[in-house]
Amino acid sequence: MAFNVTSKILEDGTAEITLVGELDGSVANDFKAAVEKVALEKPKKVVLMVKDLEYMSSAGLRVLVFTKQKMGSDVDIYVIAAQDAVRDTIEMTGFQHSVIIQDEYNAI
C-alpha cells in the first residue's frame, strides 16, 4: 500500500498522527514533516495511529526517535494498534521503553 500520513489536533490539545502503508527511507521525510507541523501546536501528548502501517524501516524508526526528542521528555508518545512487524522493529531496538504501546488509545 502507498504511504500516507495525516495529522490533526484534538480538542484537548493531543496531537493525533495516522500512518498508513509502508514507511521506508523514501517517505520518512513526509512523516517527519507531519511531526514538525504538530510540534508547532505544542501538544501535551502525541498519539500515533498505526493500525494500517504495514512496515517500518529504520528510517521510520529514526523519525520516531526524532519525535521523542522534538516533543521533549514531558510529552508522552503513544503507539496504537501496531502490527507485529512494526511492533517487532520497535521492541528489537529497545525503543519500546520510550513510547507507550497500546492496542487502543487510553490516555494515561
Partner: protein, 607 residues
Amino acid sequence: MAISTIDERVGFLRNSLLFPNPKLKTLQEIASKLEDVEYQADEPIFKAGDSGDYMYFVKKGKVRVHTENRVIEILGVNAIFGEMALLDSRPRMATVTSVEKTDLLRLDKASFDKLIHGRIEIVQGITDVLTKRLRFQDHELEETRQSLEKVILPLGIALSTEKNLDHLVERILLEAKKLCSADAGTMYLCTADNHLKFNIMFTDSLNIALGGSTGKEIPFPPISLVDKNNGQPNYHNVSTYVANTGHSVNIPDIYHAKDFDFTGTMEFDKRMGYRSISNLTVPLKNHLGDVIGVLQLFNAQDTTTKQVVPFNAYQQLIVESLASQAAVSLNTQELLKRQEILVKIEHDVQVGRQIQADFLPDVLPQPEGWEIKAFFQPAREVAGDFYDAFMIDDNLIGFVIADVCDKGVGAALFMALSRSLIRAFGWINSRSNPEFNSNTSENQMLDFIEMGLDPIGLTNNYIAQIHSKMNMFVTLFFGMLDPKKGVVTYINAGHNPPVLLDSNGEVKARLTLTGPAVGMLPDIIYAYRQITIEPGDLLFLFTDGVPESHNPAGKLLTEKRMLEILSEPVPAASVLLDRVVHELNDFMSTANQFDDITMLAIRRKQK
C-alpha cells in the same frame, strides 16, 4: 483598370509559354475570351482547396505561389498559373497571392475546355508547362536532399561536439546564413545587465565582418531588454522582442513591418546604401530554456534568380533547429562538468572505503582454546555495519557487532565514530584503573557502570546529546569474554539477539536486549548480563542483513530460516560461517544485496 485590346492580348499571348508556334486565328480566339483583372499588393487570387475556375496569365506585376508552410515560386510577367486545376478538375493545390499591384488576364474553365478540345498544339503547350513545373520541383527536391545530407545532418553532428560556446554560436550564425543564402547575419548575446549585446555581424555584399573570431569591435551599443520609459519588457525592436518572448519572428519586408521599430536598420541602410528587406530573428536558448541570445538574418536570396526573397517556413525551421544546438551543447558541457565532480566523489568514496577497511580489525584475537571468525560484506561501497574484537587487557577480550540505522557514507561516518568511542572509552578505562586487571569481567563491568564510565553508556550519551539532530542510532552488542572461564559479560543495545549454539547446532540461548539502541535516548543505564560458553559451544552474532536478505522475488530469508541453517553440528567456526554464506548466496542469487551482512562466530573448542 485598363482593358487590354485583342491585339494587345495577342501580342502578350505570343510571349506566353503555353503557345509555341500558335496560329494567329487561335490566338485571336483565345484573346477574345480573356478577361482583365487587377489585384492590389498582397491580395489572394485563389486559395489552396478552392475549386479551379480560371487559369491566369501574368500581364504585369508579380505573384507568390505558396502553401501554408512554404513559398513554392514567385511568378512574374508572362507566367502562367492555375491551369492544372482546369485540366484535372481537382481543387487548387496551392494558394496564389499577389506580391505587388498586379494585372492578370484570366481564362474561364468553359472557354479553356473548348480550346483544348481538338487543339493539339495547345495540349502540347500545356504538357510543356507541366513538364517544366515537374523539373522545377524535382530540382527543389534534389536541392533539399543535398542540403540535408551534405550540410544539415553533418553540421548537427559537428555542432554537438563543439565545446567552446563562442565558437559554437559563431558557427551557428555562419551556417544558418549559408543555408538560407542570407546576405547578412547578426548574433546578439544577453548580458547580465539585461541588454542585448552585438556579438558577431556579417554583411556579405558590403564586405562587413565584425566581432566574434574576426577580433574587430562592433561599433553599436547594446540594446536594452527593458523599456527605459516604463520598466516593461522592450518589445519595440524585433531582436529584444524575440529575446523577451523566446519566439521567432519572420518578416518579409521590414519597411512594411508595422509591429516593430526598424529605425536603426533603416539608418544603417541609408548610410551604407543598403536595402534590408526580409528578416528572420530566432532566439538562442540554453538547456534550461532561458534565452541567452538572438540570431538575426537579413535578405534571404533565391539561388536561381538572386532576388531577395522572404525567409520561408522551411528555412525558419532549419535556423531554429541550429539555434537549439546551442542548448544541446551547453547541456553536454554541464553534464561533463558534473561527471568530473562525480568521478572525484567516487574517488573519495573509495578512499573512505579504504579507511573504513582500516577500522576493521586486521587480525582477530585467537585466545588459546578458542576460535573467533568474522564475515563482512557491505551492500554498498561504504558500510553501516561493523564488528570489532580487541584485547581489553592481557586476559579479557572485547568484541562488538553493530549496525547503524542506515547505509552508505553517512552511516559509515557514524560507525567510525561509534567504534572509536567504544574502543577509546574501553581502552582509557582499562589503562586508567590498575585494579581492573585482576577483577572478574563482571566486576569490571560493575565498576565501569558505577563510575558512569561504561563505554556503551558514554557512547550513548555522546551520540544522543551531541548528535541528537542527526536522529541516528546504532544497534550494538558489546561483550567482554574471559577466555579462561568462558564467561561473557555483555550489553545488548537494541541489537539482534546473538545465538548460543551447542556442538549439535541446538539453540541454547538467545542473548536478548539489555537496553535500547545507542544514541536514541540520553542517560540510559545499560543493564548487563552474563552467560557461559561451554566447550563445543558457538556464539553466533549477526546483523539485520542476514535475516533480511532479499531474494529476486523480494521475499526475506527470515530469522526462522537462518536458525534452520545454523542447526547442524559444527566442527569449526569457519565451517559454520561458510555454510551460512553459501546459503545466503543461493537465496539472494541474482538479487542486489539489500543490506550490509556482518557475522561473528566465537567458538570454544572441544576439550
